[in-house]
């Protein structure tokens, strides 16, 4: 099954008086349960592509299908619902709402979904355990390290059982130990729950784990390599 | 433009919306103050004119005791001559002598106790607006004819009109029986019921003969065209009177209620203004405190570069001063234009008609725009704004460069 199908996506931005090509005739298919890296230098269009998949941004032309929905045709509220129920997001930084504790951040999504209180709480605690932060539930984001914050963000991304997680430079602000822990968490979630991961990154530590690596430059896909084996079976290679 | 000034100016517009909202609060408050203070001054002028213009005048020469106890026998001797002397010496033509007595006025059908004034017909119209308010007939002409003008309500109550006769009975200066019959020649309609119910005027010489006054009068009324002239004129007349038993009273002594009513109104208005100014000051305090706190890192860098906290404090005060000046300028312009427009067209007071009749005010209110009403309120707002910036500016002294640079 195809999780995401993008065909002929185009998007331009203006910055100052320059017209920048965000996406230039991009077409890709991503299979369900796959673990995909989008890489490339900054400005290459990987974040734009990721945002388009998540319905955060609309392409100027082209079609995007996520599951059975045409993302490019949905309205704002439907997009919000889609993000709420079917897609998990992990961003580079400022992933958590600063006034809510770790557990409340995870509960936040469920709360807007209307999950009953008791259920919500148990689930959030279970998620925190899963990401290894069981004893940090009452800490505010400012009391957590960068790596811990990102793991809370992951827990929040998967708590409502999405089939797809989109991560944008999730390791950018992390030291290498935290980065490795985070990426291994992604891998285990991909293998155990079959969640599709699309990760935009220029971190080679992350790329090393990916069976499929799509490289972009100036809004175009310049290479799309499949490596055999499942995520995590690949060993980190020295870059 | 100095570097500091340029820096302050640019800092303000880093958060244009916030700056405009703060300036907006000041502009709103300032325009309101300009308008309210101008209207207040305008209404006081109307109250003073309205209350004094009908009869009282701005100054009166009386026997020392007359104002406290208005007895028939406390008189100004040879009043007509004194009035003439004052007209000549002061150069002010609006000076007239009056006599005053209580009497029972009777028509064929009715009797009422009223106050009768003896006036000099040729001078009265210079000190009182009543002669100009004749509705039927004419005002008094000859100074010794047996004629009377009365208010329209009194005429209705007595059931008489122009041409009818009124008999009045009272007592003269020497407690003798005083009686006279006068023909109604005119009816005054001032539009103020209390005035129209009470007013009755007869010629002064006739008054003097009926009430056994000889050449005496009870008061000499002086009207001026500018309130500022009252005090010097009072002094001049007083010195001219010398050590006689006579005294000069100004309107504040003649109508103490008026000045106090104005004071009471001023006090309550200023209480309101104070609250508005405090609220605006809070607005400035909030903005400047935010602006200082969010620049902690920047200020840390500047301190590390050797800028002294005092200089940073001055920067914050300078920013506030620019903001407050904008508020002052725009507020004065907006308030001034609004007020000038209303001073031109006037504000209808019909809604408060009954309340204002107490002060003989009718018609439209014309706000008085002056230096004081234009800049008084806004300047205090300016000072309030500057005071509010002191706390944020002082906070800078507690700044620790290293900690500040680490702050987000």
């Amino acid at each position: 099954m195809t999780a995401i199908r993008c065909s002929q996506l185009n998007k331009t931005f203006t910055q100052g008086d320059q017209i920048i090509c965000g996406l230039d005739d991009v077409s890709i298919d991503i299979e369900e349960g796959s673990f995909v890296c989008l890489s490339g230098p900054s400005g290459s269009g990987k974040t734009t592509l990721l945002n388009a998949m998540g319905g955060l941004d609309k392409p100027d032309s082209g079609e995007i299908q996520v599951g059975d929905k045409r993302v490019d045709l949905l309205g704002k509220s439907d997009l919000a619902d889609m993000r709420l129920h079917s897609i998990g997001f992990v961003f580079q930084a400022y992933n958590l709402i600063p006034v809510l504790t770790a557990r409340e951040n995870i509960e936040f999504v469920m709360q807007i979904q209307g999950v009953p209180t008791a259920q919500r709480r148990d689930k959030a605690i279970a998620m925190l355990e899963e990401v290894g932060l069981a004893d940090h539930e009452d800490r505010l984001p400012s009391q957590l390290s960068g790596g811990q914050q990102q793991r809370v963000a992951v827990a929040r991304a998967i708590v409502s059982g999405p089939t797809l997680v989109l991560a944008d430079e999730p390791t950018a602000n992390l030291d290498s130990t935290s980065a490795t822990q985070l990426i291994e968490l992604f891998v285990s979630l991909n293998r155990e729950r079959g969640i599709t991961f699309v990760i935009a990154t220029h971190d080679t530590r992350v790329m090393a784990y990916c069976p499929r690596l799509i490289r972009m430059e100036d809004g175009k896909i310049i290479s799309d390599e499949e490596r055999t084996g499942k995520s995590g079976e690949l060993q980190p290679q020295p870059s | 433009m100095s570097v500091t000034l340029r820096l302050a100016w640019r800092n303000l517009w880093r958060h244009g919306r916030r700056t405009w909202l703060t300036v907006g609060a000041m502009v709103f408050c300032n325009s309101l103050l300009v308008f309210l203070i101008s209207s207040q001054l305008g209404s006081y002028a109307m109250m003073i004119d309205g209350t004094l213009g009908f009869l009282t005048g701005h100054l009166q020469v009386q026997e020392q005791r007359y104002n406290e106890e208005s007895k028939m026998r406390y008189t100004v001797p040879d009043g007509i001559a004194v009035a003439k002397a004052l007209r000549d010496s002061t150069g002010n033509p609006a000076i007239a002598a009056r006599g005053s007595a209580f009497a029972l006025a009777s028509s064929e059908d009715r009797s009422f106790g009223i106050q009768i004034l003896g006036v000099q017909p040729q001078f009265e119209s210079a000190v009182s607006t009543l002669p100009g308010l004749i509705d039927q007939g004419r005002y008094l002409q000859s100074s010794d004819a047996a004629e009377i003008v009365i208010g329209t309500v009194l005429a209705r109550n007595l059931k008489i009109g122009v041409g009818d006769e009124i008999t009045f009975l009272g007592s003269g200066r020497d407690d003798s029986f005083a009686a006279g019959i006068a023909t109604v020649v005119g009816i005054i309609n001032s539009g103020i019921t209390d005035v129209d119910r009470a007013i009755a005027e007869i010629p002064l010489n006739y008054f003097q003969s009926i009430f056994a006054m000889e050449d005496d009068v009870h008061s000499i009324v002086v009207k001026v065209d500018d309130l500022d002239k009252v005090a010097p004129l009072k002094k001049q007349i007083q010195s001219q009177l010398g050590d006689s038993s006579l005294t000069v009273l100004d309107w504040n002594q003649l109508q103490p209620g008026l000045g106090q009513a104005i004071q009471a109104d001023m006090f309550s208005s200023f209480l309101t203004y104070a609250v508005l100014i405090v609220l605006v000051a809070f607005s400035v305090l909030n903005t400047q405190l935010m602006s200082v706190l969010e620049r902690t890192r920047e200020f840390g860098v500047m301190t590390a570069l050797g800028v002294r906290p005092g200089q940073l404090g001055r920067l914050v005060l300078l920013e506030t001063a620019i903001m407050s000046s904008l508020g002052l300028l725009l507020g004065c312009v907006a308030g001034g234009l609004l007020t000038a427009y209303l001073a031109h067209t006037g504000i209808s007071l019909d809604a408060m008609k009954e309340a204002l009749e107490r002060y003989n005010i009718e018609g439209r209110l014309y706000p008085q725009l002056s230096i004081i009403s234009l800049f008084g309120g806004p300047l205090i707002v300016f000072v309030g704004g500057m005071l509010a910036a002191i706390y944020p500016a002082l906070r800078l002294h507690t700044l620790q460069p290293v900690a500040a640079m680490r702050a987000v």
Partner: protein, 413 residues
């Protein structure tokens, strides 16, 4: 797609915690709102106290909240325009609630003369018991006594009038008026009491004599000029005076105080508009700060707002969150402001001495003590104005917050 209920709980948590994130700013704004609300209620109470005092004083002077006259009496207050003392249905009506007191009195203009001076006055022929029920306070008699019955042969005059006439207790004065046939009716009467009144003008104007004594002097049998009626609360008069009118019948004129004294009514109206204007003006001054605070609060949270949107929070809820923040701030301010107002006004309800301005206040028809009157309606007015206008003022920042594009918001540094 699941249909979700707005999760009010989380919105409230977010709003509350966000509010205290920048506690200095919130506290300053809160203090400003408290001062504003306090001032709104304080000014309204002072105004209410002032107007109440004026109206009560005015009603004492009238007196009564409703008066019955001959249809021509108000225009021509002569003894010729007299009416019968109440009887039958009207008497029945007057002796039952909501009427708490009434007096049938003669009230005609007259001339009073002492040996030294004479004055125009208002001569009142009264039954003292009825006058007391109407509100005349016998302790206001400063010398001598009040009348003892409708047949009392003495006269009670005001302190100021006594001064003007240069007369005193026990002296005889001459009263001159006219009878229904326009003949001069006069009589020498001894002053048996001197009263003081709130206003000097009253002391100079009103002279009390026994009803029957004056009826005899003026040559009328059991006739009166007016019937003055009072109830519990002058604000309620509109609800009951038509009953009196009905009992009186169409041939006589029944008039409530609102018509009798236009000044008082216009003061009441002025009070209402004053309260609304002062409340709105104070609020508007506050509103700039309020909007500023919200704009700042939204501005520094743009990233979070982007994040919440990216996570699937609908734009509307972002708006509710900001509005909720505003409501909490306003609500707290209202609560504290109201409490502060109650705490400052209640101790003042015993009266503030403002006798330094007595003459000016007398001119406006007031006594020299101001009794602030804390009223629920003023508190409700300020609460409604602050909440409704506050929400309106908050709409713009809230709406702007909901219009952010999540990507741009997230990209903001």
């Amino acid at each position: 797609m699941a249909d979700h209920q707005p999760a009010a709980g989380i919105l409230f948590t977010l709003a509350w915690r966000n509010l205290w994130r920048n506690h200095r700013r919130t506290l300053i704004m809160l203090i400003a709102i408290v001062i504003g609300v306090w001032a709104m209620i304080l000014f309204s109470s002072l105004m209410a106290g002032m107007v109440d005092e004026m109206v009560r004083g005015g009603l004492r002077t009238l007196p009564g909240e409703v008066q019955i006259h001959h249809p021509d009496y108000r225009d021509d207050p002569s003894i010729a325009n007299s009416i019968d003392a109440p009887q039958g249905a009207l008497l029945e009506r007057l002796n039952n609630p909501p009427v708490t007191g009434w007096a049938a009195r003669i009230k005609v203009p007259a001339m009073i003369s002492s040996e030294r001076a004479n004055r125009g006055i208002q001569l009142l022929g009264v039954d003292p018991a009825q006058e007391v029920s109407l509100g005349f306070d016998p302790t206001n008699i400063v010398e001598g006594r009040f009348l003892e019955g409708p047949d009392d042969k003495g006269l009670v005059i005001g302190r100021k009038l006594a001064e003007r006439l240069e007369t005193r207790l026990g002296k005889r004065v001459v009263i001159m008026s006219q009878d229904p046939d326009n003949n001069v009716a006069d009589r020498g009467i001894r002053v048996v009491g001197i009263y003081q009144a709130r206003l000097q003008a009253t002391e100079e104007l009103n002279v009390y004599g026994g009803l029957e004594t004056l009826q005899k002097m003026l040559n009328v049998d059991n006739q009166v000029s007016e019937i003055a009626i009072t109830g519990d609360d002058f604000r309620q008069v509109a609800s009951w005076w038509p009953q009196i009118q009905q009992a009186t019948g169409p041939e006589l004129e029944t008039v409530p105080w609102m018509e009798l004294d236009g000044y008082l009514e216009s003061m009441m109206k002025m009070q209402t508009s004053f309260n609304v204007i002062i409340t709105v003006v104070i609020f508007l001054t506050l509103s700039f700060g309020l909007v500023n605070t919200l704009v700042m609060a939204v501005f520094e949270r743009v990233r979070e707002i982007g994040l919440m949107m990216a996570l699937g929070m609908r734009p509307g809820w972002i708006m509710y969150q900001v509005l909720l923040e505003s409501i909490i701030l306003l609500g707290l301010g209202l609560l504290l402001g109201n409490l502060l107002a109650v705490a400052t006004i209640l101790p003042l309800e015993d009266g503030i001495d403002i006798s330094a301005l007595a003459k000016g206040l007398e001119m406006a028809g007031m006594g020299s003590t101001l009794y602030p009157s804390l009223r629920l309606s003023d508190m409700v007015l300020s609460t409604v104005v602050v909440l409704v206008l506050g929400l309106l003022a908050s709409l713009l920042p809230a709406w702007r917050a909901s219009r952010y594009n999540p990507i741009q918001a997230l990209a903001r540094t």
